[in-house]
Symmetry: C2
Subunit: 431 residues, 2 copies
């Protein structure tokens, strides 16, 4: 039986996950492809480090990126993460005519266009299902299953760490710091959780999915990003009373031909399936102008789920390999390079909002705030004031109707400057 | 720009849905493929019938199946339903070297192996995403995204009509007949709803998905099928009290290397996402040994959602067309023809059960039933007796632990023969 030989760049969680699956599902894979898939060489930083999974003696380990891309390899699998070394490895692989599978969302977000162009130039495949939402087949779904749909809107819970922390805060009333520490103890959060909790990781994935959904490039730098560090148990409790759960959402939608995108903690009506995505699960909700609403739910991280996505890409490449005269369809769109997106300026985006003011318990405060809202055209849907007055002031929560980000921010700036404002106003979008 | 010309077999709901999408998403499709897709000819029963969608004057209408498969056509799209004419049309298309897209789950379930073989012989594609769960990309997901996973278990709510009826019965406490009549008025159920409410349509889809998930043939005739006509508001109410919703579920799982499959109304814990699939929506929950649990949720029927799936298949075929030397991978497995499944005899299948006995309100009845259960090794988890005694007797509901279908049925047979049994015992599986 033919053998497809892989060169692995990196052998951490996902790499050893892939190795485990290749081992335990060997028969299944052969039935699918009529070929065997083997790991031939592995690029690691430290040759002496103990491995989570024993690859046996036939596998060559090297710490030289150049050495990984050799004639012996059919497909290069980049699982090392980071930017520069990974980028060089992939470009070298392309130059050598190798197909590449990567799970590197950060690299794709930063240098995706360059990589697509290089892959096209060398007529090789660049696959990256594992880069977004782990085992959830969202890339494939956008590229092929919804190929004929105009994507009206895409909403995603795509960071398991952030979702786990918010779920713990919601179910156990924990403070953010406590939930984060727990997540770190359980290995759900890294020592430096910045990318996860500040929303950057989610933004990287959104950037990748926007290309697959719309065939345009929405520069990472242009995506407004708000993390979850500002979410308090108090906000979660208020949200609950109004019938919402707070989730870290990535969103992109077509607003009269222009794209509006962002990553924000958002209040999701508890009746929505998205509100029920718990723990370290991920979900993506799509709306196509033909297919209507679709939701995909699954594990967004972990060695086996992510390894499964990497393997799916490898098998897709193998299926296409007999086909020499076919240009790999890496982006799912023919007009290359992908044009820049026509972007709706974030300040023009419209949304319902949750505002939490922290004010001194004084007569006329509510009047001043509601007057300012009226002046800025921010229309009030619900309002509630609660709790004892004290040094920290009292929380005053207002749910608005649809309003522009610009109007909301102008109003907040005005109110934060008031002497009755004990703390800056907290603002979250409402789905 | 190149043009791909379609020959449509049938122009009903899905056909006109496809035509609408080709029209409204023309630009998007061209961006994806660098080609245009046009409907060239349409096969209809009655040439004089008014059409839901005007295709314009360039489209040829014919009532002769032989005439549809002509040199002018690149892809034949079979949307006529039924068995014999559809089967002949597809075989003629293959013989003429045309790729085929079909939404015909019944035909695939009955004659799928023959069609796969014929397509392979003529080296053409047979695509059928639209045959299962409408717009939900479940076929593609099994064929490509989970290609490297062993499917541990698959659960599906795959008939919108049955799910709509059960949802109405659940939310409005309606009787089955009333809910069915409503569904028919709304066009959710056909004049003859047999296929939908008796579970046959769901079984056809399950039969197709088993092939894609396991690469084996599980003959339709071997799938145990129980429809929803026996579900009463009383059962739904009891189920609710125990924390369950009743859904018509298709299931298949790998039990120590043998497949257990079936279509049954089942009690689903209300905390499961599957329990929240409402109205005419569909959902499929998969468990892969690598990817873990995944759920896909969306619209399982309707002109546009199903048309979207048909279009995805067409576009996939077009993407592969440049590739002359590649054998289309229609089943996702190489060992053709698909071998017969190693089937677990249904009577050996294990499940928790919901039993509703209708008994005369007499001393010792409960004792007799529980004694018989003990003798048959059916262990009781919960029991409740309710309501006024009367001509109709009183309902006695028992929830069992895991037990074999054989033991459960033997116990029921024994109890139904008792003089205190006013009506036969009702039995549903519990998820």
């Amino acid at each position: 039986m033919d053998v497809i030989r892989l060169g692995l760049g990196g052998f951490g969680t996902v790499g050893s996950g892939l190795a485990k699956i290749l081992d335990m599902n060997r028969e299944r894979i052969a039935k699918r492809l009529g070929k065997r898939i083997e790991i031939a060489s592995v690029l690691v930083r430290d040759l002496n480090k103990q491995r989570a999974f024993d690859l046996g003696s036939d596998v060559t380990f090297t710490d030289d990126p150049k050495a990984l891309v050799n004639d012996d390899i059919d497909i290069v699998v980049e699982l090392m993460g980071g930017l520069d070394t990974a980028r060089d490895l992939i470009l070298d692989a392309f130059a050598a005519g190798k197909h590449v599978v990567t799970a590197n969302k950060h690299l794709l977000a930063e240098h995706g266009l360059e990589l697509f162009e290089a892959a096209g130039k060398h007529n090789v495949g660049l696959m990256f299902e594992a880069s977004c939402a782990g085992g959830i087949p969202i890339v494939q779904t956008l590229k092929e299953s919804l190929a004929g749909d105009e994507i009206v809107k895409l909403l995603g819970i795509m960071n398991g760490t952030a979702n786990y922390i918010l779920s713990e805060m919601t179910t156990k009333g924990m403070d953010f710091e406590v939930a984060l520490a727990d997540a770190q103890d359980l290995g759900y959060a890294e020592a430096d959780p910045t990318f996860d909790i500040e929303g950057f990781d989610t933004a990287h994935k959104l950037c990748v999915l926007i290309r697959m959904a719309y065939g345009v490039d929405y520069p990472l730098a242009d995506i407004p990003i708000q993390g979850i560090t500002g979410v308090t148990p108090m906000d979660i409790e208020f949200a609950r009373e109004f019938g919402y759960r707070i989730k870290l959402l990535a969103h992109v939608m077509n607003v009269d031909g222009r794209l509006e995108a962002g990553v924000h903690p958002a209040l999701v009506p508890y009746t929505y399936l998205l509100a029920r995505v718990g723990g370290n699960y991920n979900a993506v909700r799509l709306e196509g102008n033909a297919v209507g609403p679709i939701m995909l739910h699954g594990q967004g991280a972990g060695d086996l789920p992510t390894g499964s996505a990497v393997l799916a890409d490898i098998m897709n490449l193998v299926r296409g390999m007999e086909c020499r005269d076919r240009v790999p369809d890496n982006t799912g769109f023919c007009n290359q390079p992908l044009p820049k997106a026509d972007i709706l300026p974030p300040e023009e985006s419209e949304s319902k909002y949750y505002f939490r003011f922290t004010v001194a318990d004084r007569t006329g405060v509510m009047a001043t705030i509601t007057k300012s809202m009226a002046e800025h055209g921010v229309s009030i849907a619900q309002a509630v004031q609660k709790g004892e007055a004290g040094e920290e002031g009292v929380p005053l929560v207002i749910i608005s109707h649809e309003t522009s980000a610009k109007a909301a921010d102008a109003m907040i700036e005005e109110m934060d400057a008031m002497d009755f404002s004990v703390k800056p106003c907290v603002k979250f979008r409402i789905l």
